[in-house]
C-alpha cells in the first residue's frame, strides 16, 4: 500500500507493522483493532466484577452473586439495564457539549491500548514514542470531563469538573517525571523495548518511581483515595450528575477503562509486561494487570478521601520534589555505573526511597485549610 511504502521508503524510524505479519498492513490493523476493542470491553467487565466482589468481600459481605453463576453476568446485566434507561438532558443544558462529552472522555481511554504490548511485537502500533503517546492521549479525557461538567448547567457538576481539571493538571508532572526514570533505565520510549529490557522488573530498580506513578496515576483516573471528582457524599455525583442511560454508561466505562489502562501501563513499565515462565505471555499480561487493578480496589476499600487542597498540596509539595530527586538519582546511576550489578542498585534504590519518604513525611505540611471570611 502506498502509505506503508512511503513510510518505509522515507526511512522514518517507525516500523508500524512487523515485517513477518501475514497479510500485510491492513490485516494487522483490522485484527488488532478488533482484538483491542473486545479486550477493553471484556476487561472492563471483568474489572467491574472484581471491584464489586472484592469490595464486598473486604467489607465482610458478598458482592453480587445472583446474576449468573457467582454473579459473573452482573456487568452484562448492568449494561442491559443502562441501555434501557431514558436519556434525560436538562432543559438549560448545552446540547452539543452535553452530547459530545462522553465520547471525548471515552476515546482516549481506548486509544492508550494501541501501544501496549501483549506479546513480543504484538501491538497495534509499535511506535517509537510509545510512552509519550500514552501521556499525551490520556490528558485529553479531562476535556471531556470538563465539557460534561459545564454542559450540565448544574452547580454540582461544575464543582466536580473544576476539581478534576485542577487535579489532573497538577498530577501530570509527577507522572511524567516518574516515567522518565524508567525510560532512562530502559533507554527507549517504545513500550515494547521497555518490556524487552526488563530482565529484572523495574519495580525493584525504581521503587520510588513505582509509588509515585501509582499515586499520580490514581489521581489522574479518579480512583480512591482521590475520587473526589465524583464524591458521592459531597457533590452528589460530580460531573456525571445529569447523565443517564448510555451516556452514563460511557462515563462508567471511562472510569474503569482508564483504571485498566493505567494498570496495563504500570504492568508494562514496572512489572515486566508479558514476561513470565510457564504460561503464555498474553495470559501473564492479563494476570498482572488484574493484580495491579486489585491493588487499586484494595486501596479504595481502605482509605478515606482527600480534600481538594490537600490533593494539590500532595502533588506539588510531596510528589514533585520526590520525582525530581528520583530522576536525578536515576540519571546519576545510569551515567556513572551503567554496568553495575543490578542487586547493588536495587538495595541502594530501596534505601534511598525509604530515607526520602521518611524525610519528606517529616517536613510535609498540608497547610491550615481554613480561610477567614
Amino acid at each position: 500500500m502506498a502509505i506503508v511504502e512511503l513510510v518505509n521508503n522515507t526511512r522514518l524510524p517507525m516500523q508500524v507493522t512487523p515485517a513477518d505479519w501475514p497479510g500485510g498492513y491492513w490485516w494487522h490493523w483490522l485484527f488488532f483493532t478488533v482484538i483491542l476493542i473486545a479486550f477493553v470491553l471484556v476487561m472492563v467487565m471483568g474489572a467491574i466484577y472484581i471491584e464489586r466482589r472484592g469490595l464486598g468481600r473486604m467489607q465482610s459481605r458478598l458482592g453480587p452473586n445472583r446474576a449468573g453463576p457467582f454473579g459473573l453476568l452482573q456487568p452484562v446485566a448492568d449494561a442491559v439495564k443502562v441501555l434501557l434507561k431514558e436519556n434525560i438532558v436538562p432543559n438549560s443544558a448545552d446540547k452539543v457539549v452535553h452530547w459530545l462529552a462522553p465520547i471525548i472522555a471515552f476515546v482516549p481511554a481506548m486509544m492508550i491500548f494501541a501501544v501496549v504490548p501483549f506479546q513480543n511485537g504484538a501491538l497495534l502500533a509499535d511506535l517509537n514514542i510509545g510512552i509519550l503517546y500514552v501521556i499525551a492521549i490520556s490528558s485529553v479525557s479531562t476535556i471531556g470531563v470538563f465539557m460534561a461538567g459545564w454542559g450540565s448547567s448544574n452547580k454540582y457538576s461544575l464543582l466536580g469538573a473544576m476539581r478534576n481539571v485542577a487535579a489532573v493538571v497538577s498530577y501530570e508532572i509527577p507522572l511524567v517525571l516518574a516515567v522518565i526514570g524508567v525510560v532512562l533505565m530502559a533507554g527507549s520510549l517504545s513500550l515494547n523495548q521497555i518490556v524487552l529490557k526488563q530482565d529484572i522488573p523495574f519495580i525493584l530498580l525504581q521503587p520510588l518511581g513505582f509509588l509515585l506513578f501509582f499515586a499520580a496515576g490514581c489521581a489522574e483516573i479518579n480512583r480512591s483515595p482521590f475520587d473526589l471528582f465524583e464524591a458521592d457524599q459531597e457533590i452528589v455525583a460530580g460531573f456525571h450528575t445529569e447523565y443517564s442511560g448510555m451516556k452514563f454508561a460511557m462515563f462508567y466505562l471511562v472510569e474503569y477503562g482508564e483504571a485498566i489502562a493505567m494498570s496495563a501501563i504500570i504492568t508494562t513499565l514496572f512489572l515486566s509486561g508479558w514476561r513470565g515462565p510457564l504460561l503464555p505471555p498474553w495470559l501473564w499480561f492479563i494476570l498482572k494487570t488484574l493484580i495491579v487493578f486489585f491493588f487499586m480496589v484494595w486501596t479504595r476499600t481502605t482509605f478515606p478521601r482527600a480534600r481538594i487542597d490537600q490533593l494539590m498540596a500532595l502533588a506539588w509539595k510531596f510528589l514533585l520534589p520526590l520525582a525530581l530527586i528520583n530522576l536525578f538519582i536515576t540519571a546519576i546511576q545510569v551515567l556513572a555505573w551503567p554496568d553495575a550489578l543490578p542487586w547493588i542498585l536495587i538495595i541502594i534504590n530501596i534505601t534511598i526511597m525509604v530515607i526520602l519518604i521518611l524525610l519528606w513525611s517529616k517536613f510535609f505540611k498540608l497547610g491550615w485549610g481554613r480561610i477567614e471570611v
Binding site: R57, M58, Q59, R61, W298, T302, S361, K362, K365, L366
Partner: protein, 166 residues
C-alpha cells in the same frame, strides 16, 4: 498536617481490610437460608381467640392508633354477651403490642409470620374469622411465655461463627 507515623497508619488499615477478604462473610442468602426470628416477635398481624374474648374492649381503648373496632350485642336467646364484629385495621397498626399486654383474658396474640404482604390496601383490614389462629398465622410469644417456650430458638449473630476461615 504532618504525616504522623510516616505511612504506617495506611499500611495497618490495608492489613485489616485484606484480613477480611479471607474471612467468611457475614451474610445470609435470604430465600434459601432463613434465620429464626425472635420468640417475642411483634409481627404484622393480630391473632384473636373467639372463645376467650369477652368483648371488654380494653384493647380498643388502649390502642394508640385506634385500629381496633369492636361491636358487641346481647344475645338474650342464649343468655350470652357476644362479640358481633371484631375488626383490626392492620395498616393503621404500629405493632406496639399494647393491646396484647392489656388483654385481661389472654385472647390476643401478636403474629409470628412476617411474609404476609397483601396486594390491596383493603385486604389489610381484617375481620372476625380472618383473625383466628391458623398455620399461616402462628402466634408469637410476646407477653405469652407459654407460647414462647414452644417456638424455635432465635438465631443470634454472636453465635454464628464469622471469623473462621472459609
Amino acid at each position: 498536617m504532618k504525616f504522623e507515623r510516616y505511612g504506617i497508619g495506611l499500611i495497618k488499615g490495608m492489613v485489616v481490610t485484606i484480613k477480611h477478604l479471607l474471612r467468611h462473610p457475614t451474610v445470609n442468602q435470604f430465600p434459601e437460608q432463613r434465620l429464626n426470628i425472635s420468640r417475642r416477635f411483634r409481627g404484622n398481624e393480630l391473632i384473636w381467640s373467639r372463645e376467650r374474648c369477652t368483648g371488654c374492649a380494653s384493647c380498643a381503648k388502649t390502642c394508640p392508633q385506634g385500629a381496633i373496632e369492636i361491636i358487641t350485642a346481647t344475645n338474650l336467646a342464649d343468655n350470652k354477651y357476644e362479640v358481633q364484629k371484631y375488626q383490626v385495621d392492620t395498616g393503621y397498626c404500629i405493632q406496639c403490642g399494647l393491646c396484647v399486654e392489656i388483654c385481661p383474658y389472654d385472647a390476643l396474640f401478636m403474629g409470628y409470620s412476617y411474609e404476609r404482604a397483601k396486594y390491596r390496601r383493603n385486604e389489610l383490614v381484617q375481620l372476625d374469622d380472618e383473625l383466628l389462629e391458623s398455620p399461616q398465622r402462628p402466634a408469637s410469644g410476646y407477653f405469652h411465655p407459654e407460647i414462647a417456650e414452644k417456638l424455635p430458638r432465635q438465631t443470634l449473630l454472636v453465635e454464628k461463627i464469622v471469623e473462621k476461615r472459609k
